[in-house]
Symmetry: C2
Subunit: 189 residues, 2 copies
Amino acid sequence: MVRAGLSTARLVQAGAELADEVGFDQVTVSALARRFDVKVASLYSHVKNSHDLKTRIALLALEELADRGAAALAGRAGRDALTALANVYRDYAREHPGRYAAAQFRLDPQAAAASAGARHSQMTRAILRGYDLAEPDQTHAVRLLGSVFRGYVDLESSGGFSHSAPDSQETWSRILDALDTLLRNWPAP
Amino acid sequence: MVRAGLSTARLVQAGAELADEVGFDQVTVSALARRFDVKVASLYSHVKNSHDLKTRIALLALEELADRGAAALAGRAGRDALTALANVYRDYAREHPGRYAAAQFRLDPQAAAASAGARHSQMTRAILRGYDLAEPDQTHAVRLLGSVFRGYVDLESSGGFSHSAPDSQETWSRILDALDTLLRNWPAP
DNA sequence: GCCTTTGCCTAAACCCCTTAGGCAAATAAT
DNA sequence: ATTATTTGCCTAAGGGGTTTAGGCAAAGGC
């Protein structure tokens, strides 16, 4: 009987691919077992349970996103950096909808602490080096940018902006313009 | 044999309450049947299937939110209106986390068209009457506000802003300040 | 070549979803 | 008031997904 060569890493990788194909919440231990042509119970030596599997896929997606973000930010500043990072999130969500959904999986504090979450906020904060913001405004701005990226990408992917003019791409550029302007003229309390 | 008095409306209402108690994705036909002390199959005369149930809960939440929004906007303009509507979303998410999650349930075009979705964008657009924005900037601004509301509330409820200074309430006010400023000084292309 | 570890399996229990068909309560017709 | 009809909830049954316990055989260490 030839072995399938399962491992936690391979399961998580395949789970991420499966997510992109059928949606993150259709990622199931059973579906994954089918994909490896293996009995369901066999996966339980490599993954604690279904929740554990999803958590690992989420962590993978967060790392991938952080890697792309870091690459995009390298050598850029100001508006350039802002646009680059924003597009990383938006493009990733378009290319890998399942993984992007996974990245929003609610992690328990345990997993959240071990995630690339901190890298993400650091990247956003790095963008603000190109603007003149002291604390606590810097943190407010980090949170605003995070909210816009997340909110816009969610709404766009759920079809909120399709079938109506102007097209989403134009709004996206104009919103990034607006944020750039806002960061350069951040209002005093 | 005394009847339980089921109806679609009662099921949806109870489903919404259940969602707030245990989370929207824990809302299941079985759990709802238990709550009415009735056999699972009995629900299928009132609700097509699990997806239909969730869709109806989502529609309920969207209506409730729109009603609250309309009430909050009445008699307000400008920054006041902006703050009022923004707080409707944030407060609703805090008071009714399950319903709020339901409101983000991906509706099929069918259901989306029959939902209060249009009311929501109209309310946001109404806020902009207090600012001087012509199309297409008005639409860009509507989408920006929608993104911020959605993104901020999501991130906050997933714990993204807890355990770190400054506290979330302060950031929220400052972000609304910033948006108000931005809308009054919307940059030309 | 033997032994230990590891990997995948079978078996079984539990929960959720959904459909088909039946009986009885509530409601309408006579 | 009695009958006829509709409606509401039930039992039965099949199909998945999750998870644990325990077994056999393949890989790898000696």
